[in-house]
């Protein structure tokens, strides 16, 4: 059976070049980067290289990068860590209604511990209004966390405007850039963010790898306590193979970004035209202007999203209903609900997320398969 992978927002294929960089550290170069000897130095060098590449992808300095086990840990470290550090200064955190669960549930955890959380609303395209942030800020706010691009819809937030509002009030600004990385250019200085989360496996790196950017001069938030690894910012012997892989993935992501954006953008346009041209009704969710080039989220009213995705899977086509992180739930997507979609519209959506390895033939095959499945489903 021919297999087509259109679920790159869930995870991506490990790039062969990333694997090559990792392999020595899974085999002979087993040193501990903290050791004083020769074995340790090899590993240390790998961390240094990876840190440089990771920083380069987002316009940061190497010492502003803390390696973590992934995007979720980075989000937890930023939010729980800052809350812990600044709890004497205030008890409010502002985020949005459409964050990834790593951010949402970190905030809800803090809420249970007595913090006050404000969830900014989004408009019908899934974007916040920076003036809402302006109004929500007060002296008790210690952190604002707004995602860069949404995992379900690909909608990009007006991050620069939001960050400058927070910064003008002296409030720290975190962004979950897990989905944006490698798909659109990111520059932490132009954006004006203080903390930024990255994940390796969304950019053809290994699972279990991630990073948190912490702007120089900010007291670093700490989640995992122990030894003095990562300059005391994240304890535990470094996962050298994963970190080396993350670094190479970041290097490739930066190098390929214009080409990736061009290819996935072209494929996405073709997919969108194909679907809207052949299937009615079909509603595109999210912003049409401000979105990741690789993501397309469509509601097919009257159909059950899980039936659609399973039918496509049985034909060898991998897509997801909403986010892979809660694929087993047929709860209407909270992201689409926050955008004002009805329960019905929010339970019949399919997310297509493309990668640079996808082809025009695959797009045409998916459109044809989808068209067929929907005809069959409507006939049942």
């Amino acid at each position: 059976m021919q297999r087509t992978y259109f679920d790159h927002n869930a995870t991506t294929r490990l790039d062969p070049s990333v694997l090559n960089v990792m392999l020595p550290f899974l085999a002979d170069n087993y040193g501990n980067p903290s050791s004083i000897h020769w074995f340790g130095r090899d590993a240390r060098r790998a961390l240094d290289t990876a840190r440089r590449h990771t920083a380069d992808l987002i316009g940061a300095e190497p010492e502003e990068i803390v390696f973590t086990s992934g995007g979720t840990e980075s989000d937890n470290q930023a939010i729980l860590g800052i809350a812990c550090l600044l709890r004497d200064r205030g008890d409010r955190i502002i985020t949005t209604a459409i964050e990834h669960q790593a951010v949402l549930n970190s905030c809800l955890h803090l809420q249970q511990m007595g913090f006050r959380i404000t969830f900014l609303p989004v408009d019908s395209e899934g974007r916040i209004d920076p003036s809402d942030l302006e109004h929500a800020l007060d002296k008790d706010v210690i952190l604002v966390s707004i995602m860069h691009a949404n995992n379900e819809t690909g909608t990009i937030q007006p991050l620069r405007a939001a960050a400058s509002i927070a910064r003008a009030r002296g409030v720290l600004f975190h962004t979950d850039a897990v989905q944006a990385a490698g798909r659109i250019p990111i520059d932490v200085n132009k954006l004006g963010v203080d903390l930024l989360s990255l994940s390796g496996h969304k950019i053809h790196g290994p699972k279990g790898s991630g990073a948190l950017f912490v702007r120089r001069g900010i007291q670093p938030p700490v989640l995992i306590h122990g030894g003095h690894h990562e300059h005391g910012r994240r304890a535990g012997t470094e996962n050298v193979p994963a970190i080396a892989g993350l670094g190479e993935a970041c290097r490739l992501a930066k190098e390929r970004l214009p080409e990736t954006a061009r290819v996935t953008g072209m494929l996405r346009e073709r997919l969108e035209k194909g679907i809207l041209g052949q299937i009615n009704p079909a509603l595109v969710n999210g912003s049409l202007e401000s979105r990741l080039p690789n993501t397309l989220n469509v509601s097919f009213p009257g159909l059950d999203g899980q039936f659609l995705a399973i039918n496509l899977d049985l034909m060898g086509i991998a897509v997801s209903t909403g986010s892979a992180c809660h694929a087993e739930s047929r709860e209407p997507s909270y992201v689409l609900k926050a955008m004002g979609r009805s329960d019905e519209e929010a339970s019949c959506c399919i997310r297509f997320s493309l990668g640079h390895e996808n082809t025009v033939d695959e797009v045409d095959r998916v459109v044809a398969a989808l068209n067929q499945v929907i005809k069959d489903l409507r006939a049942v």
Binding site: Q306, F307, I310, N311, D313, L314, M315, S329, R330, D376
Partner: protein, 366 residues
């Protein structure tokens, strides 16, 4: 898709029976798609390791992985809530004792899941039920007891109409539990399977009906316990907490053993007796009767009748007394005939049909 092989859906609860059923379908050469129904939210109502729980779902996934078949978790919580749970609460609140498994088989497994199966081009569903189907001389599909009497589950399947029966495959229906376990061992499935039957409705430490009441914000029908002489002997906090024949946890200090004889939802009276002989009845009225096989030989029909799961069937005479309404008179009295439970009619091991118990007949019918 593998052309030439018939695609079937295996309903996989994570229990040993449905796991073996899926394996047997694969062995028979079908293209098998495993599906676990997500009926309730985690930590909601059920005990931890229930058939709706995560552990069982994971196990179904593991079994599918071993078999090399695709496995999906279908979220049908909304349907389950509306078709099964809400119905169950209504029944309890009418002083009846619902049988959610029958409803679940009809509306969820051979309803929602069958719709799903059709949507992926599978016409039939294999389940782990101990029951059999046969094709009679006229080509009609008939439902029969499982060959292994102690596990027979045909009682829970009586309401499946012919269309649904035609789509049902019961691969373990001719096997004994030991045979099923042996196959499971041969396949290398690990031990530790649980029996999923009824587990959807098991609740830790709490009365299930009370949990349903809270879920649907129902108002409990308070009332009195009434003894055989018509005297109020105590108060209770809701008729939904009782079932006919119940002799424990009545919350009634009578100084002697007593049992629930009947429940009156209009007055809220729970009638109790200290004579266990009072619990026996000679017949029942069943409503919403459906026939798998139209009764032969007209009216009345001689058959045997089973009024709850795992209870012995008793010879009875059925008489139609209205549209889908049947009066059954037993040849020997049956204990605790409970409104809300199913009355299933058998001819030998064949299911003729069944209905829902409306009331028991007491007194001098026999």
């Amino acid at each position: 898709m593998n052309r030439g092989r018939e695609r079937v859906v295996a309903a996989m609860s994570g229990g040993v029976d449905s796991s073996v059923a899926a394996a047997l379908m694969l062995r028979e050469g079908f293209e098998v798609v495993g599906v676990t129904l997500r009926l309730q939210s985690c930590s909601e109502i059920t005990v931890e390791r229930s058939c709706c729980g995560q552990a069982a779902t994971d196990r179904a996934g593991m079994v599918s992985g071993r078999l090399g078949i695709p496995h999906y978790i279908l979220d049908c919580r909304k349907y389950f809530e509306n078709e099964v749970l809400r119905h169950s609460w209504r029944e309890y609140n009418r002083g009846r004792t619902p049988n959610p498994c029958v409803i679940c088989n009809e509306k969820i497994k051979f309803g929602f899941l069958l719709d799903f199966a059709r949507s992926i081009g599978a016409g039939r569903i294999a389940t782990g039920h101990y029951a059999r189907t046969e094709t009679d001389s006229t080509g009609a599909i008939t439902l029969h007891r499982g060959s292994f009497a102690p596990k027979d589950q045909s009682y829970f399947l009586f309401s499946l109409d012919r269309r649904r029966l035609a789509s049902a495959i019961f691969p373990v229906g001719r096997m004994s539990k030991e045979q099923v376990r042996a196959i499971s061992n041969d396949l290398g499935f690990q031990d530790g399977f649980m029996e999923s039957q009824d587990a959807c409705f098991a609740a830790k430490g709490q009365c299930y009906a009370e949990i349903l009441r809270q879920r649907f914000h129902g108002r409990a029908k308070h009332g009195y316990f009434i003894d055989g002489s018509g005297t109020a002997v105590g108060r209770h906090t809701g008729i939904h907490q009782f079932t006919v024949g119940q002799g424990r946890k009545l919350g009634l200090a009578m100084g002697e053993r007593c049992w629930v004889r009947s429940i009156d939802s209009k007055t809220g009276a729970v009638c109790v007796t200290n004579q266990c002989g009072d619990l026996f009845s000679h017949g029942l009225i069943a409503s919403l009767v459906s026939w798998n096989a139209p009764p032969r030989g007209g009216n009345p029909v001689e058959c045997s009748i089973q009024v709850r799961y795992r209870q012995e069937a008793v010879p009875a005479t059925l008489e139609s007394i209205g549209r889908n309404l049947v009066r059954a008179v037993f040849q020997k009295p049956i204990r605790a005939v409970t409104p809300g439970q199913a009355a299933v009619f058998y001819e030998g091991d064949r299911v003729l049909g069944g209905g829902w118990i409306q009331s028991s007949l007491q007194g001098d019918f026999a």
